[in-house]
């Protein structure tokens, strides 16, 4: 299961994997405003990465506004850094706009920190209830818009968890009018 598109000098890939367990410059974590790692991917980050990550986050002034993002190191994880992006949750008002802003903030943090290879999960789907089709469309549009501009990012990977998440992203990939990278 993999899809690939070349957008200018960068590659956009869709894979099925655990975003917290891949070798990458940075991955995005759909964070809570208080930056507590908590459950789900947060469990994986704190268990695999160690206590230093939460300790570092505790030093950052919070709450973080919805749509914003901050960066921490990734402890003992395979990734070097984590971008903690606070997105809309649970049928919040203006979900689409807020999700788009969150994507832009995460990509901006990646540029500021010189990350060349970054990975995203399917942002806010599942527990936070962002509809899958909306998520796939907004994420791919935001990434495509960003990669079409001036960028130091060479590769963006979207890591989904299962076939349920894969299918809507696959459909959106088909709509990206750039050549396949496969």
């Amino acid at each position: 299961m993999t899809e690939e598109k070349r957008i200018n000098q960068s590659t956009l890939r869709l894979i099925k994997d655990d975003v917290t367990d891949i070798d990458i410059d940075a991955f995005v974590f759909y964070a809570q405003p208080n930056l507590a790692l908590g459950a789900g991917f947060g469990t994986a980050i704190s268990t695999r990465g160690g206590a230093s990550i939460q300790k570092e986050l505790d030093e950052i002034a919070s709450p973080i506004a919805t749509g914003d993002a901050v960066v921490s190191s990734a402890g003992k994880l395979k990734a070097k850094y984590i971008i903690h992006a606070v997105g809309p949750r649970f049928q919040e008002e203006d979900t689409e706009d807020k999700l788009r802003t969150t994507m832009r903030s995460a990509l901006k943090r990646a540029e500021e920190n010189g990350f060349e290879r970054i990975a995203f999960p399917a942002m806010g789907v599942g527990f936070y209830g962002i509809p899958l089709d909306l998520c796939a469309r907004v994420m791919i549009e935001a990434i495509k818009d960003h990669l079409e501009g001036e960028t130091g990012i060479k590769e963006v990977i979207i890591c989904v968890l299962d076939s349920r998440e894969y299918k809507p992203f696959q459909s959106q990939f088909a709509k990206v009018e750039y050549e396949d990278g496969n």
Binding site: D18, A39, F41, T43, A44, R48, F90, G126, F127, L161
Partner: protein, 455 residues
């Protein structure tokens, strides 16, 4: 004077919007049919442990949800709201009050449903109401933690893949040592097996002996079996949280893994809500046409004995035992005779508890109650009914076919100082197994052949 419409919070609006999507014939039937006869009252362990407090009565709790339906969906409540006690939710505080009723005062055990002459299935629409609140982020903290773990890690206890695989390896090594056979294995992702075995993450985290015991039984039975490396969790917190999306997604991961491995049958280890979700409910939540057979491990073990694939000696389990029916197994899936048949084959002293089978009382940890620590005092108070039921049996060991019940019962046994142990059928069957050494068995077979030849 001009009548002013009361403003509703965003979350309250969303809850009412989603109510529309969740209503079906079964739900509406239950929302309309209550005649307030009170037959449900004595069926509920919360009521029995809190006599005189009518707010625990299933009909009262149901009315807290029913009033929304009447106000917004039923014509009587739209025209005469005061007459039919219709009402609405306006603030986040209203939703939080509802949360404490639907999560904190009911384990969705369905005992009241069974005792309702009108067929009102309160637990079904209580679950629906839970789902409405979860969709706007209003839920007990423990429900949030477990749901997020199951969504993102793939199992409800946040067990990472490497820890799961390491535990299986460890159990295989233990088994090799016990059976003095280095070839014994717990096969992972083996293709074309007759049995794909799925488990509860509690087994990995707190009770790996149940995995080793099951592996021992499969090995002795000569089963062609495997465990999946992913999608192995057969539990489903969607049943408790009312989140059909989660319910469907979790089960789909398991179903798709069995298909990928070309497994012929999915065997579900002893877990009431896991069995109900995976076998009965999740094909609907996930809109998935399951192309393979699914079976409780209780039936698998019983089948092995009946087919002569394993031999057991009941004199190895002589302490008095009683059987606790899991609500999901017994009341919702009708699985109550098979565990008793198996128990009587592997134990010498089995004592029935009363009431039992579909009428049994909840372990009081059901419906996700074990994960909602804010309601623990309430839960343990209501557990008095179960404690008395257990005590009356005079048994030393409570046997159940559900990991959630193991935790619920263990907690109440500790709280009420009953001094009983809790175990599962897999442990008793494994303990009763008669294991013949390969050489001895071969010799015996030869003997039979020789005798046959002489006759």
């Amino acid at each position: 004077m001009r009548w002013k419409r009361r403003k509703r919070s965003h979350k309250a609006e969303k809850v009412l919007e989603r109510l529309d999507e969740k209503l079906n014939r079964q739900m509406v039937g239950s929302l309309l049919a209550c005649v307030h006869c009170g037959m449900c009252t004595d069926a509920c362990h919360y009521v029995l442990a809190n006599p005189g407090d009518t707010t625990y009565a299933p009909a009262y709790k149901a009315d807290r949800i029913r009033r929304l339906f009447k106000r917004h969906k039923d014509w009587t409540g739209r025209i005469f709201p005061w007459w039919v006690k219709a009402g609405s939710v306006f603030t986040d505080e209203d939703l939080e009050e509802l949360r404490d009723i639907i999560f904190g005062k009911c384990t969705n055990c369905r005992r009241c449903s069974l005792n309702c002459p009108m067929g009102v299935d309160y637990a079904t629409f209580n679950r629906m109401a839970r789902g409405l609140l979860v969709s706007v982020g209003i839920m007990p903290e423990g429900v949030a933690v477990v749901s997020k773990d199951q969504w993102e890690i793939g199992n409800q206890m946040g067990v990472l893949k490497e820890d799961y695989l390491e535990t299986l390896e460890w159990m295989a090594e233990e088994l090799q040592a016990e059976l003095e056979d280095p070839t014994v294995a717990i096969p992972i992702d083996k293709m074309d097996c007759d049995v794909v075995y799925s488990i509860n993450p509690r087994e990995v985290k707190y009770d790996p002996r149940t995995i080793a015991d099951a592996a021992k039984i499969f090995h002795i039975a000569g089963e062609n079996w495997t465990m999946p490396s992913e999608g192995w969790d057969m539990t489903n917190f969607g049943l408790f949280s009312g989140d059909d999306e989660l319910g469907g997604a979790v089960a789909r991961r398991l179903y798709e893994k069995v298909i990928e491995l070309r497994g012929k049958k999915l065997v579900i280890s002893e877990c009431g809500h896991g069995y109900r979700s995976t076998r009965c409910e999740a094909p609907n939540w996930g809109k998935f046409d399951v192309p393979f057979e699914m079976e409780s491990s209780v039936i698998t073990m019983l089948r092995y004995i009946k087919e002569g694939r394993i031999k057991v000696d009941k004199t190895r389990n002589t302490r008095p035992v009683t059987f606790h029916d899991s609500c999901n197994n017994a009341r919702s899936c009708g699985l109550f005779e098979e565990p008793r048949e198996l128990l009587n084959i592997v134990c010498t002293d089995v004592r029935e508890m009363y009431p039992n089978r579909a009428e049994n009382y909840c372990c009081t940890g059901g419906g996700g109650a074990m994960s909602m620590s804010e309601y623990t005092p309430l839960r343990l108070k209501s557990a008095k009914i179960k404690a008395d039921q257990l005590k009356d049996t005079g048994a030393e060991i409570v046997v159940t076919s559900c990991h959630n019940c193991v935790d619920g019962l263990t907690d109440l046994i500790r709280h009420y100082k009953l001094g009983m142990e809790v175990t599962q059928l897999v442990n008793l069957v494994a303990n009763a197994l008669v294991i013949e050494k390969a050489g001895v068995a071969a010799e015996q077979e030869d003997e039979v052949e020789v005798k046959g030849g002489e006759g």
